[in-house]
């Protein structure tokens, strides 16, 4: 049986020495459907270093969110494994801060409470005063202090996304998993949010590893160290991993004129849009 192919055990020392924080090994995810097994992604292999920002980019339905869900522990792999900090992922856990596609704020709680409950749940050893201080600090970091007593229904999409990001950062996770976090925002708000995200990442010396799913090429280049480009599904695989060699800190206004930026963008467009040419319509 294909599912039972043994994946060689990882030498933990190997991970330590290489400075890797995450390793995806031979990952395959499939779902049972009435028509039989539907393979979403397969043969996914990826090594991620501490403090790296990785974007996974691809067309709709290429299984990029599926991979993120597997890292988050929400989806069980049919084959292979995700290793975070030398341990195979068995389920969701607070070592990963997840920013959901639709924000997933609890509508009956204020902005403050939404973050507080997560902090209270994860940082159990801290005193109430310390927890409150943490919540206040992160609300302030995303500029929501004037809105902290509002309910999710009373704030804009951009603000909701800020709350979701602040909540994910506030529990001080090793990993941040962002599922199309800025997909529903307008271009201007998106730009501000990118800066907010990098600000939070810088706040603890770029020690957090960030994995982000997106379908926005410019966003991926601006934020990432490496960009994982997916093939189209079903049974999607990694097409290519594109390195973004732009130095940090990056400036949105300037980088677009740099040769490296143009080169990277052209490469990504080439990988993602090769099928869309005039001939296709004839």
């Amino acid at each position: 049986m294909e599912n039972n192919v043994l994946v060689p055990e990882v030498e933990t020392t190997e991970l330590y020495d290489s400075g890797l924080s995450m390793q995806i090994r031979n990952l395959k995810i499939s779902f049972d459907t009435p028509k039989g097994e539907y393979v979403a992604v397969k043969n996914i292999n990826l090594n991620v270093k501490h403090g790296e920002i990785i974007s996974i980019i691809g067309h709709s339905g290429c299984g990029k969110s599926t991979i993120l869900n597997a890292i988050g522990g929400f989806t069980k792999p049919a084959k292979g494994e995700v290793i975070l900090n030398y341990k195979t992922v068995k389920g969701p856990g607070p070592d990963r801060g997840f920013v959901f596609q639709n924000y997933s704020l609890l509508p009956w709680m204020t902005v403050y409470k939404n973050i507080y409950e997560a902090v209270d749940s994860v940082l159990k050893d801290k005193t109430t005063a310390e927890k409150k201080e943490t919540v206040d600090r992160f609300i302030d970091a995303v500029g929501l202090t004037p809105h902290k007593d509002k309910f999710p229904s009373q704030i804009s999409g951009g603000m909701k996304q800020r709350v979701a990001i602040a909540r994910a950062f506030a529990i001080n996770p090793k990993f941040l998993l962002l599922d199309e976090p800025f997909g529903a925002l307008d271009a201007l708000t998106k730009g501000t949010m990118h800066i907010e995200l990098l600000k939070l990442w810088n706040m603890d010396n770029r020690s957090k590893t960030i994995i982000m799913v997106t379908h926005d090429i410019e966003e991926a280049i601006f934020l990432s160290d490496r960009i994982v480009v997916m093939n189209d599904g079903p049974a999607a695989t990694i097409r290519e991993i594109v390195e973004v060699k732009l130095p940090r800190p990056r400036n949105k206004k300037d980088i677009v004129h740099q040769e490296e930026y143009v080169k990277t963008r052209d490469r990504l467009i080439g990988l993602l849009m090769d099928k869309v040419s005039i001939e296709d319509y004839k």
């Binding site: 969701p92 609890l106 509508p107 709680m109 229904s153």
Partner: protein, 305 residues
């Protein structure tokens, strides 16, 4: 509109008046003839609201008026066998002005009878809710428990609660307790089913938040499960108390002793249809009040939409 003007220049500076202007209840208008440029007046919005309230009251009165006419007509057709509105209202008035008298077991004031019923409903309904809500939560959470308990519930639910009365008598050896018991049984089903429905429909998104941030079971119960299900639970309670109030009348007709149901039966035995109809009006009014109370609570617990 001139008559409605609250005029006076200084009044506009009054903080209360300012607040009312901001909320749109009052409005400022220019008046050409006066030296003071503006005059405070009742806004069109307020006028329309007041007019609408009067309109509703008028239609309600119209409805009752038509019912009264119909009732009088039926009464005169039956040649007085069915008492008419005037005779009934006179008896109702007698009952209402002296509600607390107590002339022995078969002759008590209407308030005493009503109170006996309300207390029974609250005991039965309270105990029923205490059982129904936890079981509903369990059924909504666990697939296995749902599969085990649902068939039993589906068989018991359509049974008239009165069928449980003999069992209550055997178990409790007391007819008032047996009446509470049937109210208890009645109150179970709507609350239980609505709670299970609410808990079962918690969106994956909310559950994922709990998983991603490692919520303990207690935190999940109080911060996600209960807040999400509360509107469903309250709807269940509202339906439960409605049915309980329906059943108490029949229950007390069986059990006798005290209560509004017993009062109806006793009035029938005493051949006073005026009292029976008066009791019907009172039962209906109290039922309406229960319903309104829970509708109000429902609104309180429904989070910002």
């Amino acid at each position: 509109m001139k008559a409605l003007e609250l005029k006076s220049f200084s009044m506009r500076e009054n903080p209360l008046i300012r607040k009312l202007i901001l909320s749109g209840l009052l409005t400022e208008r220019k008046v050409a003839s006066t030296t003071s440029p503006r005059v405070v007046a009742i806004s069109k919005y307020t006028m329309r609201s007041i007019f609408n309230i009067f309109k509703s009251i008028f239609y309600t009165c119209l409805g009752f008026g038509l019912l009264g006419l119909f009732w009088s007509a039926v009464s005169s057709i039956s040649k007085g066998e069915l008492p008419g509105p005037t005779a009934t209202l006179a008896v109702l008035w007698e009952m209402v002005i002296n509600p607390f008298y107590d002339n022995g077991p078969n002759d008590k004031g209407i308030a005493i009878q009503l109170w006996a019923s309300v207390v029974r409903v609250f005991y039965g309904f309270g105990l029923g809710s205490l059982v129904a809500i936890p079981i509903g939560i369990l059924i909504g959470t666990s697939d296995v428990l749902r599969k085990i308990l649902y068939p039993i519930i589906q068989i018991l639910k359509p049974v008239s609660p009165l069928a449980w009365f003999p069992i209550g008598l055997v178990v409790f050896k007391s007819s008032p307790t047996a009446t509470i018991f049937i109210i208890f049984i009645t109150s179970l089903w709507p609350t239980l089913i609505n709670t299970a429905l609410g808990v079962g429909s918690i969106p994956e998104d909310h559950k994922n938040v709990a998983k991603a941030f490692g919520f303990s079971n207690t935190k999940y119960l109080f911060k996600i499960l209960l807040p999400y299900s509360m509107p469903f639970i309250i709807t269940g309670l509202r339906l439960s108390i409605g049915v309980a109030w329906l059943v108490i009348v029949a229950g007390e007709m069986l059990s006798g002793g005290t209560g509004i149901g017993f009062f109806v039966w006793d009035s029938w035995n005493g051949l006073s249809l005026e009292k029976v109809i008066s009791a019907i009006l009172i039962i209906g009014t109290v039922g309406l009040l229960f319903d309104r109370l829970f509708t109000f609570i429902e609104k309180l617990v429904t989070y910002g939409k």
